[in-house]
């Protein structure tokens, strides 16, 4: 808190602390640790266990310094000692040097000196600090500790216990930060080691972070092991676009191939963390299955490789023909995968063509009006007194946002109220979890929440994290529930959590239905009815992502021509008449927008695969072919035009900010939602109401084409309460029929105690048969019967 002294207008910070480090006066804030203050004053104190984003452990003892005390200098660990006014700290005295050298010698005592074959060699804090703060020689002549090396502790992480210096970083991360305490110190004293429970892997969605923060080569990640030496790496800072959290990353390559992503610590978003999906899906960029050349369909319906000019001509011809009939016979689906520039260029092209039917969402999101409510940034959302979750399982869909919410909940800084049809990864951290059957969320809220919750809501600031919690329930149902929440919490700010990488940027840049035109579900229905002549798919795969499989299938079959801009031959792309290979993440420059509207840069590190090109360039060239030149020749020109054209993007003119923390877009004047009731019928003869949700690892191309991740997708089962198994009359794991009004699918049945009775779970877009046949995109809810196979 800053107060202003009216006398001299110099702000006086009551939390300011002034101390002396190595003779220099340093200013810090109350509660800062000496080690952090010293970092700011460029007095580097060696450390291993200290990590600024985790509670200090004070266990490696490397950061010992001297602090002047009443009885002379005292030796303290700077990672656990807070600064104090007038404190005198010395980090370089003989005593300190001797203590630090002593600790380093002891750390090295049992550390194998296998640096030449260690992935960490060259970027290893132990190596570096042994060089800068070590004794220079070892007097340890005893036999070192021996363990089997290295052992896999999960599908992607290997552990070499001989290299481990027991700093507690990985174990603290797993427990404190990720909430997946699947690794622990075991045994004691000199035999202490990090281990999983026997035969139970460290299957955390965040396991890669432990590899990144390991100060030695004890933890290594399979996707990177022995791929490169750190000094051969070339790197650039970028923003992950796997989901819409927008984690800051470093993209590293070696010999023009992506080899690793590492999290970058920025305050407003990811604090240095990444989820494993975002961290390891660079493999898909390197995939041999990438589209490297354009294709057109020949008369027999086979894809034939062609030149760009040939493919663009074909595409332009189709569009011209369609536009000649009516702009309404053209529709564009997708665009959330690309950059702001990609989306904007396509929106500009659509404008030029007069095409209003465009939608970056795939009938699995929320109406764009959620962006017109009072908006919360991630920081604002997690610092509210009460955080209301009306969202999908953040751990599955937006993992690093889950970490941010979990952080405040665990530290009891905020109270999390979760309203959901299914317990989520945040349920253990939530203050209250209200379990509600699909279709009844709005009515449950309007009927009155628990008075304790209402009292809490009324007691201070509120944020609502809202997204599509159930793909078997209409978006409208969620919007109505949101309207009810905003009625009881009128002060609330909203953080919409649409999932796709740059969905917010794409929508804001114009890839959203214009003037009340058709959205994706309606476009597909029009196409199925033969009313769409040319359908453009911008990195969109309706066959995989639209909840109503039947509608998607009929839509794609009904469109006369399909132009697909994509990185892979997806199920939808394989039906396209013209396939234009797109440059992927890491292969292009530009900007992206995360779920809170933060704009930051994405950077090119490697040459695009084959002849693939960024989407914006494809739009620009198609525009030229159509005689509607967009007037842009470089991505910088697209950014400049975007910043000038779309008011919300204006802050992106600050290109310096874009390259690190990013900058929030302007928000439009807030509107209010109207409250109406949703008429949801009872289940009648159906026994179960479906809750459908995405899991982190699914059939999405970035995952499916990354071998390290593809193996982690489990496949779909229908999950019921254990007590319902007998009712269905089958054994666990048996195949059952799941029958909706629309269709029937056959899936194995599994159980969970967490299933709300009367509901059944069905994960979405899992490899293989995932049951989405039974969904009707226009239904508010999906009710089913589950029966034994005949």
């Amino acid at each position: 808190m800053t107060t202003v002294d009216p006398a001299n207008t110099t702000p006086v910070d009551p939390n300011a602390v002034s101390l002396t480090i190595n003779g220099k006066v340093v200013s810090a804030r109350k509660g800062d640790l000496i080690i952090a203050a010293a970092d700011k004053s460029n007095d580097f104190i060696p450390r291993f266990c200290y990590h600024p984003r985790m509670a200090p452990a004070g266990m490696c003892r490397q950061c010992l310094v001297e602090v002047e005390g009443p009885r002379g200098p005292m030796m303290v660990v700077s990672c656990m000692t807070p600064v104090a006014e007038g404190q005198v700290v010395r980090t370089e005295t003989e005593q300190v040097k001797k203590a630090q050298e002593g600790v380093l010698e002891l750390l090295l005592a049992n550390h194998p000196l296998d640096c030449p074959v260690c992935d960490k060699g060259g970027e290893c804090p132990l190596q570096d600090q042994a060089f800068s703060h070590g004794p220079g020689e070892s007097r340890y002549v005893e036999e070192k500790r021996h363990y089997e090396k290295p052992i896999p502790i999960s599908d992607n992480v290997f552990l070499d216990r001989e290299r481990c210096i027991l700093c507690d970083r990985c174990t603290r991360f797993a427990d404190e930060v990720a909430g997946d305490a699947l690794i622990s110190f075991t045994s004691r004293g000199n035999n202490t080691q990090v281990m999983t429970f026997p035969d139970e892997p460290f299957s955390s969605y965040f396991s890669g972070n432990t590899v990144q923060i390991c100060p030695v080569g004890a933890l290594t990640a399979k996707p990177y092991r022995f791929k490169a030496r750190p000094w051969d790496l070339d790197q650039t800072e970028s923003t992950c676009t796997t989901c819409s959290v927008g984690c800051r990353t470093v993209v590293q390559s070696s010999r023009d191939e992506l080899v690793r992503y590492q999290g970058v610590d920025i305050d407003p978003v990811n604090w240095g963390w990444l989820c494993d999906r975002g961290r390891f899906n660079f493999e898909s960029v390197n995939s041999d299955e990438r589209l490297t050349t354009p294709f057109v369909k020949d008369a027999q319906g086979n894809h034939v490789a062609t030149t760009w000019s040939g493919a663009l001509d074909a595409a332009a011809r189709m569009l011209r023909t369609a536009l000649a009939v009516s702009p309404e016979s053209v529709a564009i689906i997708g665009g959330a995968r690309g950059t702001n520039e990609d989306a904007f260029a396509w929106a500009q092209l659509a404008d030029a063509m007069g095409v209003n039917q465009r939608d970056a969402q795939l009938a699995d999101g929320l109406p764009a009006e959620v962006f017109a409510l009072p908006q919360a940034s991630i920081d604002e959302a997690v610092t509210a007194n009460t955080i209301i979750l009306l969202s999908p399982d953040l751990k599955e869909e937006l993992p690093v946002l889950y970490l941010r919410v979990r952080d405040v909940a665990q530290k009891r800084k905020s109270k999390v109220v979760e309203i959901t049809s299914r317990p989520t990864g945040l349920t253990p951290s939530a203050w209250k979890t209200v379990l509600v059957e699909p279709g009844k969320i709005a009515s449950t809220i309007s009927a009155g929440l628990d008075p304790v919750i209402l009292k809490q809501i009324a007691s201070g600031s509120v944020s609502v994290i809202v997204g599509r919690m159930n793909l078997a329930e209409s978006a409208e149902s969620t919007v109505l529930a949101l309207a009810e929440i905003l009625h009881v919490a009128p002060q609330a700010k909203v953080l919409p959590v649409l999932r796709r990488g740059n969905v917010r940027g794409a929508i804001t840049a114009g890839l959203t239905p214009q003037h009340g035109a058709a959205d994706t579900a309606e476009i597909l229905a029009l196409a199925a009815a033969g009313k769409i002549d040319t359908l453009v798919l911008l990195g969109a795969d309706p066959l995989s992502d639209v909840p109503d499989a039947d509608l998607a299938r009929r839509g794609l079959a009904g469109a006369r021509n399909i132009i697909s801009v994509d990185t892979f031959m997806t199920p939808s792309t394989s039906q396209a008449d013209v396939v234009l290979p797109a440059a992927a993440f890491g292969e292009k420059n530009g900007t992206t927008t995360n779920l809170e509207g933060r704009m930051s840069n994405v950077a090119q590190k490697i040459t695009p695969a084959g002849t693939s090109r960024p989407d914006w360039m494809i739009a620009a060239e198609l525009a030229i072919a159509l005689g509607k030149d967009l007037g842009v020749n470089s991505v910088e020109e697209v950014t400049a035009k975007l910043v000038k054209t779309v008011a919300q993007f204006a802050p992106a003119a600050n290109t310096k900010a874009l390259r690190h923390d990013g900058v929030l877009m302007n928000h439009p004047t807030p509107l209010t939602l109207s409250r109406t009731t949703l008429a949801v019928s009872d289940r009648n003869s159906y026994d179960y109401r479906i809750v459908s949700f995405r899991k982190l690892y699914d059939a999405a191309v970035g995952t499916a084409k990354s071998p390290s991740l593809a193996q982690l997708a489990t496949g779909a089962t229908v999950v019921v309460h254990p007590l319902d198994l007998a009712r269905i009359g089958v054994e666990l794991g048996a195949n059952v029929q799941v029958i909706s009004a629309k269709s029937t699918v056959v899936l194995p049945v599994t159980t969970s105690e967490d299933v709300l009775r009367g509901t059944a779970w069905l994960p979405f877009n899992q490899p293989g048969n995932d049951g989405r046949e039974i969904f009707g995109v226009h239904a508010d809810i999906v009710d089913v019967r589950i029966e034994k196979l005949a």
């Binding site: 004070g58 003892r61 010992l64 002891l106 750390l107 004293g189 202490t192």
Partner: protein, 465 residues
């Protein structure tokens, strides 16, 4: 003086008995005996006064902590932050310091006295739940305390509305599973939370402010609490009339090793000297077999050693500290002239290396390293350089001068206690303490070991001459 067969180890005497008054009874652990011998009278007396008055009495009596650090209990209770609730009492009955076993006797022989002490502490300091943590290996103590608690609950001395008053507190029996380091109060709290018993750094984890579940927590030793019923019954004056001003009351001291009558004694605090304890007829009666005293450990295995030069020091922290050691947990281990000093040091170094929790690098790595070097020396395969290396490794655990006693024959003057340390708790330094003492006071015994190795091969094997 007399020994009680039902209380092996304990030796009574003609001295004031603050905590051992019931040891003479074979049924001292039953509630019947307890009630017949003023049992729970102190509780009733305490509850008839405001809690703050009882706190004042304990403060006024300067009841020094009997666990090792010697911090006054009443002052400790006053360190809890205002208006932060709940506050807990954690009873440290995880006695494991080599040489020490007074707490086990107090729990086995007079569990109700401990329970009454806990109740008085909870009442005085506003502690709303008590966890009584007994060392895992002490099966009998666990049985006796469990039985006593069951009796006390049934009789209304523990639990809801004690004696019909507004004072309510649960005492939960908790037991460990074998880890010396858990005797350290922050490790004890970790263990009580179901975690690995690894110490926390103080600050910020001073239990009185940030203890069990992050709440204000008082951790008191068994003997400390066992003092309270007598103190409350007899008053501050009677209590402080025993012992000295700075060390009032009595202390339980175990004297083991090469003495004629090893045993646990309740002694008068502050005035009894080591000479009294080791040679006095009232106590151990001298060294076995008429042998000579070589050295003794004055305060549990962690303490730097003394030699006969220090025999006349009293059991008083303010004198033992400047003399280069500590009183610790009230345990004296006596070595006569037949003792193999390097081997004796090794048993202690092995103990602390083995009991390291593994948290701090210097203790985890350094303790084992010390043990390995010393083992080599003891086995006769060490070198001169190893002796220096022992000191070098020790200095990485405890930088600067390490405390030791004065020695006239060696011309040494004392380096006062305490030492500096690069670790969180005392386990790491304790692995070095016996080595440092032994090397400082008996270096020739080490040199004899390493010299032998170097000279033998030269004469035994056909040399070039």
């Amino acid at each position: 003086m007399s020994s009680y067969p039902h209380a092996p180890g304990f030796v009574a005497g003609d001295r004031p008995k603050v905590v051992t008054s019931r040891f003479e009874y074979t049924d001292s652990f039953t509630i019947e005996r307890y009630l017949a011998t003023d049992g729970y009278a102190a509780l009733r007396k305490a509850l008839s006064k405001p809690a703050a008055d009882i706190h004042e009495e304990v403060k006024g009596a300067t009841v020094l902590g009997r666990g090792g650090a010697g911090f006054p209990a009443g002052t400790k209770w006053g360190l809890t932050p205002q208006q932060v609730w709940p506050r807990y009492l954690v009873v440290n009955g995880d006695e494991s310091e080599p040489g020490t076993y007074k707490d086990r006797l107090l729990m086995e022989r007079d569990p109700h006295q401990l329970i009454e002490g806990c109740l008085i502490a909870c009442y005085a300091a506003g502690l709303s739940q008590c966890f009584l943590y007994i060392r895992g290996e002490m099966a009998l103590a666990q049985e006796r305390v469990a039985t006593a608690l069951n009796e006390a609950y049934a009789a209304g001395y523990v639990g809801k509305n004690i004696l019909g008053s507004k004072f309510s507190v649960d005492i939960v029996l908790h037991w460990g599973a074998g880890a010396y380091v858990v005797g350290e109060e922050t490790a004890l709290i970790e263990s009580l939370e179901g975690n690995r018993g690894m110490p926390r750094l103080k600050p910020p984890f001073f239990p009185a402010a940030n203890g069990l579940y992050g709440q204000p927590t008082i951790v008191n030793n068994v003997e400390t609490l066992a003092n309270l019923p007598w103190l409350i019954r007899n008053g501050v004056e009677a209590y402080t009339a025993i012992g000295t001003k700075t060390s009032p009351g009595t202390r339980m001291v175990a004297v083991s090793g090469h003495v004629k009558r090893p045993g646990v004694y309740e002694i008068i605090n502050g005035t009894t000297t080591f000479r009294d304890l080791i040679f006095g007829e009232e106590f151990c009666g001298g060294i076995r077999n008429g042998n000579k005293l070589k050295a003794f450990v004055p305060g549990g295995g962690s303490a730097p050693w003394f030699t006969p030069d220090q025999l006349d020091l009293p059991f008083e922290a303010s004198q033992v500290g400047p003399a280069g050691s500590m009183l610790g947990s009230g345990a004296i281990m006596v070595m006569d002239e037949t003792t193999d000093i390097p081997a004796a040091a090794l048993t202690l170094t092995h103990f602390y290396a083995h009991e390291s929790c593994g948290k701090c690098t210097p203790c985890r790595e350094g303790g084992t390293w010390l043990e390995r070097i010393l083992t080599r020396v003891v086995n006769g395969t060490g070198t001169d350089a190893d002796l220096q290396q022992l000191i070098e490794v020790g200095t990485s655990i405890c930088p600067g001068d390490f405390p030791h006693a004065s020695n006239e024959a060696l011309g040494l003057s004392a380096v006062p206690f305490p030492y500096k340390m690069t670790t969180i708790c005392f386990v790491g330094p304790s692995a070095y303490a016996p080595i440092h003492s032994a090397l400082t006071l008996f270096r020739s015994e080490f040199e004899a070991r390493v010299t032998k190795r170097i000279t033998i091969p030269v004469t035994a094997v056909g040399a070039a001459s």
